[in-house]
């Protein structure tokens, strides 16, 4: 990104495209030349520009310890994401970033970690998972509770066994609507709590998903005894500039682009859940 003008995208090459699910794909983009100087932090995002079509904020979904490729996992839902979905290896994408706040990974050393994700919400959390596993011995229990609409919507499932087996992560998965072949849990993500081992008073939680899911996840954690300040959520709003100038992403007093997207729940609880805020 042009440091003197943060509104100018930098064209970068798409090295690989991974088809994750029927509507979700990952763009693996070559890093900025001087990327070493400003590695992204888990939770941060880039603005991705599809030539002539437009720009959207997309979180990093790859390993922050392996900056040779920038991963962005995207659901094909709108005009710009459809254009991004049409990109092939060798095509160019415009990139501005990285922007925004980060999951408190290092700050959470010594604690149990509960990660709760809904649908594509697992993508912005995956860099945090990689960072946690990179120094696995620094943390107590690590829990991942993951919910999606259907079995076909589950992301990154191939990695779950590694996370379980090699790193002892308690990975629990549920879906809203199951087909005949599904033998796992059915129901909302909060139904996964019973039987999960973690010490709520010494837990840092990281949540990303639809607001309604986050609301119930926060209630559940607070009922268990986890303090609001140790619960972190990501917020999403319409965003144009990513640097606090366009005004679109305001959520109460916060600019989600620069004060967020990751917030401690204690920071935003007065505004969370107010209709049309």
């Amino acid at each position: 990104m042009d440091a003197s003008n943060p509104m100018i995208p930098q064209p970068r090459k798409v090295k690989r495209v991974i088809r994750e699910t029927h509507d979700t794909f990952t763009l693996c983009v070559e890093p900025e030349i001087h990327e070493q100087e400003k590695l992204f932090k888990p939770g941060q995002f880039n603005m991705l520009y599809a030539f002539g079509v437009g720009e959207v904020p997309i979180s990093f979904s790859g390993d922050p310890g392996k900056p040779n490729l920038c991963h962005h996992t995207i659901r094909n839902v709108g005009t710009v994401t459809r254009a991004l979905a049409n990109l092939k290896a060798g095509d160019m994408v415009g990139v501005r970033g990285p922007f925004g706040s980060a999951w408190p990974v290092k700050e959470s050393r010594g604690n149990d970690i509960v990660i709760i994700a809904g649908g594509i919400g697992l993508a912005p959390l995956r860099p945090a998972i990689y960072a946690l596993l990179e120094e696995r011995d620094q943390f107590g229990e690590i829990v991942l509770l993951y919910g999606a609409r259907t079995q076909e919507d589950l992301l990154f499932t191939k990695e779950f066994e590694t996370w379980r087996g090699k790193y002892g992560v308690q990975v629990r998965v549920t879906i809203d609507s199951a087909g005949p072949n599904w033998k796992g849990n059915v129901g909302v993500v909060t139904t996964l709590f019973p039987g999960v081992r973690f010490d709520p008073a010494n837990t840092v939680a990281m949540i990303c998903g639809p607001e309604v899911m986050m609301r119930f996840a926060v209630i559940e954690l607070k009922n268990c005894g986890t303090a609001e300040k140790n619960i972190h959520v990501t917020m999403e709003r319409n965003m144009k500039c990513a640097i606090g100038f366009c005004g679109h992403c305001q959520f109460g007093p916060a600019f989600i682009c620069k004060d967020g997207p990751v917030f401690s729940f204690a920071e935003i609880s007065p505004f969370f859940g107010i209709r049309e805020i």
Partner: protein, 381 residues
């Protein structure tokens, strides 16, 4: 402030000559389409001599004055932001080159503007926009270049408009700083002159080229008098006591429904507000698809597109749009920038087609707030 000087009315055009000689484009008040707006001026003849304005909620009328005052009115529908952060500007162009594409940034040299007739509330508005665009982690480089190049020639208000309330928000009527020069216009029976204050070295250099006399004590006192007169005749007042908590905590107040019944969500208030800074971007291509551009355009929190997310608008109701605008302007702006976003200029009241008055809205919420803390702070006052 260095000592003040006096410039006679008949020598005012010298100011234009000096500014033009220094390469400035002079922007100032002029008559257009039945209003006093800001546009390019070539000489003092372009100023609205002998005109004044009558303003109230939803009302703006020009009237002839009985004298030949050049600045005998208050603020109109335009603000200086249209020159510093234009309502439409191209951010960059892009050219496809095979599989690749190249971004071509805008590299136009910034225009060199001399703003003539900037009022105290507007000088505060410039400072508020500076905070938004220049004092965070990122800088709005286009705004920065225009702002740095701009010369600010203030005019002290000697009369107040029907919707003015700068006194109650501490932004006027006297401009104390933030200008290169500031003029106070004085009309007497047989004399018409300006008392001129110098705010910067740049301003002093302009003075050097003008035909001026040192101001006498009586002339300075007369200028002060007239500014005090404006201070005593404010059309409105806004009670800002505890207003941050008042609005934030009353997000469920019935008054929001009441105001939504009147509000047309036309966005006029955001267009005329000197501090509203929201923008959107539009990506366009030519017919070949080889050439793309991104344009930044003024936007408003009163549109449905503004909060569009995942197939719907977060703030779809007029109630929530008005609440967002007012709460941001008077309350959450304080969280964001340590100051209010309101300068008391009254434009949003004047230019509201249905005369919604934010000072009234705040009072209505204050009077019927069910929140203990807010009622308490009101009582203590």
């Amino acid at each position: 402030m260095s000592e003040q000087v006096v410039l006679e009315r008949n020598d005012l055009n010298g100011l234009f000559t000096v500014l033009q000689g220094q390469g400035y484009t002079v922007i100032g008040p002029t008559l257009q389409d039945g209003a006093i707006v800001y546009d390019e001026l070539t000489s003092d003849k372009d100023l609205p001599e002998g005109w004044t304005d009558e303003q109230d909620g939803g009302i703006y009328r020009l009237k002839k004055r009985s004298d030949k005052a050049l600045f005998g009115y208050v603020v109109g529908p335009y603000t200086w932001k249209r020159f510093l952060d234009p309502p439409e500007k191209r951010l960059w162009q892009a050219k496809r080159e095979g599989n690749d594409f190249r971004i071509i940034p805008e590299n136009e040299p910034p225009p060199k503007y001399a703003f003539l007739g900037v009022r105290s509330c507007e000088i505060h508005a410039l400072a508020i926009q500076d905070r938004v665009f220049l004092e965070g982690d990122y800088r709005n480089t286009s705004y920065e270049k225009r702002r740095e190049a701009a010369l600010i020639i203030g005019v002290q208000c000697v009369q107040a408009g029907g919707t003015c309330f700068c006194v109650s928000v501490n932004t006027g009527p006297r401009a104390e700083s933030g200008f290169d020069l500031a003029l106070t216009e004085i009309l007497e029976e047989d004399r018409h002159y300006f008392v001129v204050e110098t705010g910067t070295d740049q301003g002093a250099k302009i003075i050097d080229g003008l035909k001026v006399q040192p101001a006498k004590e009586t002339e300075v006192a007369e200028a002060d008098n007239r500014i005090s007169h404006a201070a005593k005749n404010m059309g409105r007042k806004l009670n800002t006591e505890g207003v941050r908590d008042l609005l934030v905590q009353n997000h469920d107040h019935a008054r929001w429904d009441e105001v939504a019944n009147r509000c047309l969500s036309c966005a006029n208030c955001t267009m005329v507000c000197p501090t509203c800074f929201c923008s959107t971007v539009e990506d366009v291509t030519d017919i070949t698809g080889e050439h793309a551009e991104r344009w930044q355009k003024q936007d408003s929190c009163f549109t449905m597109d503004f909060s569009y997310l995942h197939g719907g608008s977060v703030r779809a109701s007029t109630r929530s749009q008005y609440r967002q605008w007012l709460t941001h302007k008077l309350a959450t702006w304080i969280d964001q920038f340590d100051e209010s976003g309101c300068t008391g200029c009254g434009r949003c009241i004047t230019w509201c087609p249905v005369a919604i008055d934010l000072t009234e809205e705040v009072e209505a919420i204050r009077k019927s707030s069910s929140l203990e803390s807010v009622v308490q702070s009101d009582k203590e006052r």
